[in-house]
Symmetry: C2
Subunit: 332 residues, 2 copies
DNA sequence: TTGTACGCGTTATCAT
DNA sequence: ATGATAACGCGTACAA
């Protein structure tokens, strides 16, 4: 017991929990004792006795490592401020275990809060769970039941509309769209933005120009092959995320298409992938790290209320980047 | 208490902990009760009473999101088998907080084990901490004090030697090397392999051909600019990781150099980045996910002993991939 | 094979 | 402002 060091008994608890009613003198003594003994309160005991675990969980399943990395980084940044730990709880989007994992996170681990990313954010069973539980939940980019939990998001529809308008402004009339997996609301929203921009421009929607993907590189490549194989192929391709855009790009290269001279490619993501492929892609920059930070902040900051926080996106233009012509001439 | 459901008292504990001496009948009854009540033992209570927390931590700081993602995935796969959770504990490699974080992970959170990745694996203070603690530690790719803790690794020296030999066999005589940050033992080891192969081929080591990087895209690009600016530039560049190789590639593109016709680029990583840049790069495939899995396995499987596990690497050749010529001719 | 009593280290409640 | 005491929910040791 740190009582030996200090002079008071478990007033230590008050000090450590930064409670109001403590004399400045006692507080100092306790703090000194804590420092000298390198004392660290046991988390398990605090969890058992109190009602907080000093842990939050991130239930995340996304094919893009960058997304996961940035999301975790943002959450970490916020957690560090409160001395809270993050449990990383990956899940397979088709796994039966998800619900069980979440429940045991709440029941057994007693986490103070849970952050969910798509597609689980919109699973009916998960929504039902959240509805009957009295736990802090924050959903990132949810698609349905927006008032059920707190959430952070960007305007996916607006972002996709902006990008599509941008491509239209460049003169493109046939724009291919590679969607994400249908279970991701973000994918649906981005497709909606795409359609909306076409509508505004009075361009007929051609279902052939929309190909399903899986938010990963390979599916982006496959979808692009399909789009380029069309009788009347698109002059631009807008992928619902950067990994798929990178896949699209690889196909362009493989086929010897100059980008963007012969084929424009646009992406959507946190601008890591889009920046380091060649040529760097025009993309919608989604500040994933900020999404994570804000999600954690909703969980940790004071009173918890069901609040919706929108984070701004940015359209990053990179058309000016030279086409591969220079590379070609050098090679030829 | 689930006593109401079952008939016995806290023999439940025995059942849940899969102890030997329990009658098959009682076990069945208890299990039924557990299932019907959806009972989940409280982790905090178990941690407090017992001596396990059912949590392990991954202290990881790596500039490559793919590395982190794959590492976590491997650990997750193994943890899932034992119902153990993973705490993701990122750190800044220059942070004073690291030691404090690790200690509180052990003292306060009472994790059952800790997995460390470079560069923290070789920090003297961290090593000292591990030496005086009686906790399960596993280091991934450590560089020093190999007998201090259990570890998993690939033969970095051998891998770099193999790649360098490969480049030599292709006819290259001036091979640039982009190292990682000096605090990463893996970087030093890979450089050593590079030098070793040169020695074997009786090629004088030219310090100008070695440029420091930071294991990230930007530093790879910078180092490449420097290498190409040399009076006698290299015909091939071997980067100590794939992110830097991608950076090198971007410079080649920007300068209109055909890859690999005019400049060969080789990488080192888990083959995600190297596969989706253009052209896909020859690389040393390090099975990062396997490293994570094995690290977790060392922690969780039975008796813990200080064991060293080596995982095989693979040299993935991709020179046959066409140069950019086709793209160029199409563009021109 | 199963049940009982105690303790893990902290917070919460109530006195003081 | 501070101290005593009872939980918190489970393992462990020992008894039955």
């Amino acid at each position: 017991m740190s009582r030996l060091a200090g002079v008071s008994i478990k007033t230590v608890s008050r000090v450590l929990n930064r409670e109001k009613r403590v004399a400045e003198a006692t507080r100092a003594k306790v703090n000194a004792a804590v420092a000298s003994l390198n004392y660290r309160p046991n988390v398990a005991a605090r969890t058992l006795a109190g009602h907080r675990s000093f842990q939050i969980a991130l239930a995340c399943d996304n094919p893009s490592p960058y997304y996961v990395y940035e999301m975790q980084s943002g959450i970490r940044d916020r957690c560090q401020m409160d001395g809270v730990r993050m449990i990383a709880q990956p899940y397979d989007h088709d796994s039966e275990r998800l619900l069980d994992d979440i429940e045991s996170l709440v029941d057994a681990s007693g986490v103070d809060g849970l952050i969910l990313t798509p597609p689980a954010t919109d699973y009916p069973e998960v929504l039902a769970l959240m509805a009957r539980r009295n736990v802090r939940f924050v959903r990132v980019s949810p698609g349905t039941d927006l008032d059920l939990t707190a959430s952070v998001f960007i305007d996916n529809v607006g972002a996709a509309t902006a990008m599509t308008r941008h491509l239209l402004a460049l003169g493109h009339r046939r724009i291919g769209f590679i969607s994400g997996h249908a279970s991701y609301a973000t994918s649906t929203q981005r497709l909606e933005g795409y359609r909306s921009a076409l509508d505004d421009a009075d361009i007929a929607f051609d279902p052939l120009l929309v190909r399903p993907g899986d938010y990963d590189f390979a599916s982006g490549a496959d979808a692009t092959e399909a789009l380029l194989a069309l009788r009347d192929p698109p002059s631009a391709i807008f992928a619902a995320n950067d990994d798929m855009a990178a896949g699209a790009l690889s196909v362009a290269h493989r086929r010897g298409l100059s980008v963007p001279a012969q084929l424009s490619i646009a992406g959507f993501g946190d601008d890591a992938v889009s920046r380091f492929v060649w040529p760097p892609l025009t993309t919608i920059r989604q500040p994933t790290r900020t999404l994570g930070y804000q999600a954690a902040d909703l969980l940790l900051a004071g009173e918890f209320k069901i609040e919706r926080r929108e984070v701004p996106f940015e359209l990053v233009r990179r058309e000016s980047t030279g086409p591969l012509r220079s590379a070609g001439s050098a090679a030829g």
